[in-house]
């Protein structure tokens, strides 16, 4: 497996990539980091969340538009295209309107040119290619198998807490996770740096357990009261009904607000784990800056160091003991602020600017202050309260879905 390669076609040119990795990771290894352009300002975008949440990695694959390439494995002969190539003169309409930003700060207003009907018709004809909206696929490739199942307990998220919850639950249990194996996002990262055996023994227990069904590569896309979930997997949609639903989906990466915070190369730790630990993305000799604090800060730094990257870790709190440990293992650790701006070269990250200094890098991992996942509990009736100190909208702990 290690040495096998496949050839895909990207923008009509052959690209040789390792088999078994995602399209986004394969293109990254070939130096292609801009996967799409943003809809209004035409800004370059690259893989960001690496977990199929954001739209940054959406490309046209084998004629099918809006395919999340961070979750699509490369196959021989696969045709991959950037979706928004229809933009004339390399500028979107919004970019052209930038020149008038002092008069129209909000850019284009959707009610312009809607009357009279003739103007509207001509305008729509012209605006579609200008906005970079791609062509629709000629036919759907969706599989149509669906089913409905009933379980006593559904546990969403197969991280360490999700696995423990599933093992301690009685009756029939369905454990849902968007990765192919149980263990969660940190699991593969911890494995790479040979720490903590707990997740592995837990995941073995899950696989051998009689009462737990593990549904990998599956996402929960909707929750309906009382106790019904809509699941999406490669086979299509399915519904599941449960007496108890346990939400163990963990947190979402937060990049933070600073200038050019959308550049390809800026990622959170969860995206990093998926790309570098799970998919073995090659980061050898890559200049990486890790910013922030906390568990993910250290895990990201150690993971990247173990993979041969040139890591500069910028801790935003002072922690002498940990700094000494990290320095001993060859990581440059300094203290500093969180990023205030990012700079680009050819559309991808080239440097990250902190308050008092700046670092050259191709990849910057921003840790700390992650956001709890909230959407399915909200649909099932949980109360959400905004608490920035704890990362975002916090689910009321007292909420229980016991239908």
């Amino acid at each position: 497996m290690e040495n096998s390669h496949v050839t895909i076609r990207f923008q009509d040119k052959p690209v040789v990539c390792r088999s078994g990795i995602s399209v986004a990771a394969a293109l990254w290894e070939n130096g292609i980091r801009v996967l799409s352009h943003s809809p209004k300002y035409g800004r370059p975008r690259g893989v960001k969340c690496a977990r199929g949440h954001c739209g940054n990695c959406m490309m046209r694959v084998n004629g099918q538009p809006n395919v999340r390439t961070c979750h699509t494995e490369v196959t021989a002969g696969m045709v991959v295209e950037v979706q928004d190539t229809g933009v004339p003169f390399g500028r979107t309409m919004q970019q052209s309107l930038e020149a008038f930003s002092s008069v129209i700060p909000n850019g284009f207003y959707y009610k312009w040119f809607t009357k009279p009907a003739l103007v509207s018709k001509a305008f729509i004809h012209g605006i579609r290619p200008m906005t970079g909206i791609g062509k629709l696929g000629s036919k759907t490739s969706d599989s149509t198998s669906t089913n409905h199942s009933v379980f006593d307990t559904v546990v969403i998220g197969a991280g360490i807490s999700g696995m423990e919850t599933a093992l301690s639950a009685s009756g029939s249990v369905l454990l849902v996770d968007d990765q192919s194996t149980p263990g969660g996002q940190r699991f593969s990262a911890l494995q790479q740096i040979e720490q903590l055996d707990a997740p592995e023994s837990l995941s073995k227990q899950i696989i051998s357990s009689q009462h737990i069904t593990f549904a990998g590569d599956t996402r929960v896309v909707a929750g309906y009261k009382p106790g019904m979930l809509l699941l999406k997997s490669g086979d299509g949609l399915s519904t599941v009904k449960a007496k108890t639903i346990k939400w163990c989906a963990g947190k979402l990466d937060r990049i933070g607000l600073f200038e050019n915070n959308d550049l390809p190369g800026l990622m959170g730790p969860r995206g990093l784990y998926r790309l570098v630990a799970k998919q073995q993305l090659d980061v050898n000799n890559c200049d990486v800056v890790v910013c922030g604090h906390g568990r993910d800060f250290w895990l990201s730094a150690f993971l990247l160091n173990a993979k041969g990257a040139n890591v500069t870790a910028v801790l935003d709190v002072d922690d002498k003991d940990l700094i000494e440990t990290a320095t001993a293992s060859g990581i440059t650790v300094t203290t500093g602020t969180m990023p205030v701006a990012a700079r680009s070269n050819n559309g991808t990250l080239s440097a990250i600017k902190l308050e008092d200094t700046s670092y050259k890098c191709k990849l910057c991992i921003i840790t700390g202050n992650a956001k709890p996942a909230y959407d399915i509990p909200y649909q099932l009736g949980a109360k959400l309260t905004l608490d920035p100190a704890r990362g975002g909208f916090i689910i009321d702990r007292k909420w229980e879905d016991q239908s």
Binding site: P39, N106, T144, V221, L230, T239, D262
Partner: protein, 95 residues
Amino acid sequence: MNKTILCNCEDVTVDDVNAAYADGFTELESLKRYTGCATGPCQGKGCLSEIAEQLAELRDVKPEEIPPMNVRPPTEPLTFGQLAALEVPEPAEEK
């Protein structure tokens, strides 16, 4: 062009939200409808908290006074083909 992006999917910048707030869109729901933030492929996973925090700052209120916007199913894009293939189970008997 340097920009600070609040919502990646729909390209909504901090300046866009500030301008919309100044135009009178002072609730999360109306901000969403005017700027399009949190309506892209991520359905707010990437930006809801950030926008809510920005709004709390603009309104100068405590964060807990900003309620979340409505999160409707589905939480990620589905195709009509997938939905059409779905067999919806019989609803439970009304009590």
